[in-house]
Symmetry: C2
Subunit: 320 residues, 2 copies
């Protein structure tokens, strides 16, 4: 099987590329290297079944070239930095919605019949801590990131119905682990590297969400791809339990071998505008298909800290 | 109060402009005249509280100019021709999603605090005839038009949360009446004008939806605007009952004074790809606010036929 992985040099994309190669796929990775990094895909560069293309999928021609000749598209390219998108308001529209349209249009033109799309729990907006299932409504996102992912889901669904494309939409919990480039864990490691005495935490520290380990995220996506046979498949991808931000701070300090770090809270229930403080995702639909995440949320955070701390000690940078 | 009505020379827009002027508002109407028509707003041209701007809201500068200085935006501009959007696949992305982003961005820049947005029952996708309420899921649209409206809802919701804009989203039933430019009634009148003996009906004629009279649609929008006080208000806008396509054909023939018209069905449950054959919208949320449509679906179709037939006898055209 030949796959295109968009965002293939990114956090989740690079993990997915590794797993697809392991399973014998031929993989083309496309990335604009805004958040993705060449170092994440360097391990695959010698594999003859791997090919990397640096390109901008906002350009129609680039989308056509990227899609041409593959059996399935794993469309992970997006701006995953939610607060960046709130400050630069056209980011998610362009890198999310328009790029997804370009990818779907290219698939239609080149008769590529399968798309796996990385969506997010952010499409549910702020459900007030209520557990949400795939059929839950309303879908009124409170971030431009969530709005863009909802727009993409709609596009995937409409292309699926109108042009005979089969689709798997996954609404991710917070994903953590190897090759993570941003998010609360990376933030805390950065901050504690700069100042080991005090950690400033956005909000009241009680924001609590499920954290899914990136390897489990990849395994779940591929399990659904192999086992869900509908024309249009939509799944929450999550794990057991949830972890609050104060607990994460403690686990990061622990993982860095720091003792007696003072935690200072900026206050308020949200970390930032657009942050959903309490997220609960029903894992039932994936469970009834036969898949559950092997790690709980706390275990995922602990494993991610263990993976990130040694790498980040060596310095982290990305273009933005 | 000063309003911008985007799509103000269009079907619903021109009806809304008339009602707002009647209520003493100052109204700026913006329209690209692709589907809208100058004749629809000619009755208002002498009103000093009315101002028309022909412009393309895909241009950021045009959106800024249009929005500047108003108290509320009634954002109705869109490609409302669903099957056109299925053939020209970037239409709804551009004229729906990107234009809506431009309008919201302009509102943010100019501190305009209220938006009324015309969404659609198409965001629910094909619910299989189940009655859907505003909190129903999933939202997996089957047309690019529905996908774009869902994208716009997400944008409105995110801008509302992040930038303090108050919003009223209305998910319209099928709207019919004065100044209608397309849709099943207009189609049937055209076809029966060309051939009074036989009418070709897309699908099996059993597609059945609620048809809301355009004056009732406008009155419902303004009632919600006046009475719903949330930051983010989302309503189905519909009426009692529904009308199937065969019944519409009979009512159109009746309204045109034709007897013995043969109905020929192309077959299949859908009129076209992307058509939702059975639509049922819960009117409960608007009802509990205190508004119900005065006309039933059948009455709305009958009133619309009476309004459209005399005008269309004089010939209908639009730029596309």
């Amino acid at each position: 099987m030949r796959a295109l992985v968009t965002g293939g040099a990114g956090f989740i994309g690079s993990n997915l590329v590794g797993e697809l190669l392991q399973r014998g796929w031929s993989v083309r990775a496309a990335d604009n290297l805004l958040l993705g990094r060449v170092e994440f895909i360097e391990p695959f560069m010698d594999n003859e079944r791997f090919h990397f293309v640096e390109c901008d999928l906002l350009e129609e021609a680039a989308a056509n070239d990227a899609v041409c000749g593959v059996d399935a598209v794993f469309h992970l390219a997006a701006n995953s930095d939610i607060s960046y998108g709130a400050r630069h308001t056209d980011t998610d529209l362009k890198l999310g919605t328009v790029v997804t349209f370009n990818v779907l249009e290219a698939m239609r033109r080149h008769s590529v019949g399968k798309i796996v799309f990385s969506s997010t729990s952010a499409v549910y907006g702020d459900a007030g801590g209520r557990e949400v299932a795939e059929d839950s409504g309303p879908l009124l996102p409170i971030s431009l990131y969530g709005a863009s992912k909802l727009a993409c889901e709609g596009l995937v669904s409409a292309f699926c119905h109108n042009f005979g494309i089969q689709a798997w939409i996954y609404r991710f919990a917070n994903i953590v682990g190897d090759n993570g480039t941003h998010g609360v864990l990376v933030d805390f490691i950065h901050k504690l590297t700069a100042d080991a005495d005090e950690l400033v935490i956005l909000g009241d520290g009680k924001q609590s969400k499920p954290y899914l380990y990136v390897k489990d995220c990849v395994s779940g996506m591929l399990f659904g791809f192999d086992h869900a046979r509908g024309a249009m498949n939509c799944f929450n991808l999550t794990c057991e339990g949830s972890t609050n931000v104060t607990r994460i701070a403690e686990m990061v300090a622990d993982g860095m071998g720091l003792r007696g770090v003072r935690l200072r809270f900026t206050g308020g229930s949200r970390g930032w505008r657009g942050d959903v403080p309490q997220v609960r995702l029903s894992p039932e639909r994936m469970a009834s298909l036969g898949w559950t995440a092997p790690r709980s949320s706390d275990d995922a955070v602990r494993a991610a800290v263990a993976a990130l701390v040694p790498r980040m000690a060596g310095g982290v940078s990305c273009r933005r």
